[in-house]
Symmetry: C2
Subunit: 183 residues, 2 copies
């Protein structure tokens, strides 16, 4: 999935600046698709404008640089619909946490406990955010994907709350076997 598709998806919900598009991709309901940085968003928006899939209007602001507000065109909406029909790339779950967990006996109980707490806090925050979006939205597709996310994260959190003691035990046993310079 390309940055182009992402920008069109967000603009399909309403006008936005490059900055706002980036925020949507980082936080909120659009953060489960793909990420993108300014270095790819701004050039993409320029290309979309050249291809007439979006239009820009500049809103001058006294003192600071003008906001460039992008809107999707009918042509853009049609292009987006065609992009949706292409077979989507496989979903991915990428977890630095699991790498640490895998090597619990090397990492030690201190590192493991921190990583577990961090991960659980993270999940709780995400669940909060998604619950809020769920209450607000009237769009059925959005509601579906938010409920998908909630189901997934609540399950993850429950697993960690139920099983994390096993990981701590592995880390503690590892420390007995490998009594390295404690930190």
């Amino acid at each position: 999935m390309s940055v182009k598709t992402l920008c069109l998806a967000i603009l399909n919900c309403g006008d936005a600046t490059g900055y706002e598009i980036r925020k949507h991709l980082t936080e909120g309901k659009f953060s489960y698709f793909e990420d993108a940085s300014y270095g790819s968003i701004y050039p993409t928006l320029a290309r979309l404008e050249a291809d007439r899939l979006v239009t820009v209007r500049e809103e001058p602001q006294p003192g600071r640089p003008a906001r460039k507000i992008y809107s999707i065109t009918d042509e853009g909406r049609e292009a987006f619909r065609r992009l949706l029909a292409e077979p989507p790339a496989p979903d991915t779950f990428r977890s630095p946490f699991l790498l640490v967990a895998m090597w619990a006996e090397l990492a030690g109980p201190h590192v493991i406990k921190n990583a577990l707490e961090e991960r659980k806090t993270n999940l709780r925050e995400e669940i909060e955010k998604l619950s809020a979006i769920r209450e607000e939205t009237g769009h059925p597709g959005t509601r579906f994907i938010v409920e998908y996310g909630l189901n997934c994260m609540r399950n993850d959190l429950a697993f960690l709350e139920r099983e994390s003691h096993r990981l701590v035990a592995i880390a503690e046993e590892g420390e007995e076997v490998l009594p390295q310079a404690a930190e």
Copy 2:
């Protein structure tokens, strides 16, 4: 998490060539951390060797280019342990599938049904693979992360099997409202 950490993690399990490292990251139990391509793996291995964190031995093969087999050193193991102690980056779930699902009314029932089937097949395959790894491994950390993954994917699959009819309904209603040139 850097490619460096990934390479050390895999070599910490046993010697490997660049090709094998890439395979581990793409398939198997290491595929839940981060991905990396040859274009980053080969330069990283060269740097690791220069830093004395790994060693190489060339195994000549009659007719074809020699295998370069990399091994982690004691220094490398210590560096890996230090890298594990660094606060891990947050986990991410990236889903092109959910983008299509969000816009079910635009994508239409045909596209949605395909995407759903594709996603479910994908999950079943992953569950198969993880179940096999679970049976084989004797390493407690590996068992933990494999069970984490299994728990997550079984839950995902159950949600889709239970709820996907809702998504199809959204797509079908959308088609009535927007009777575009059918494909």
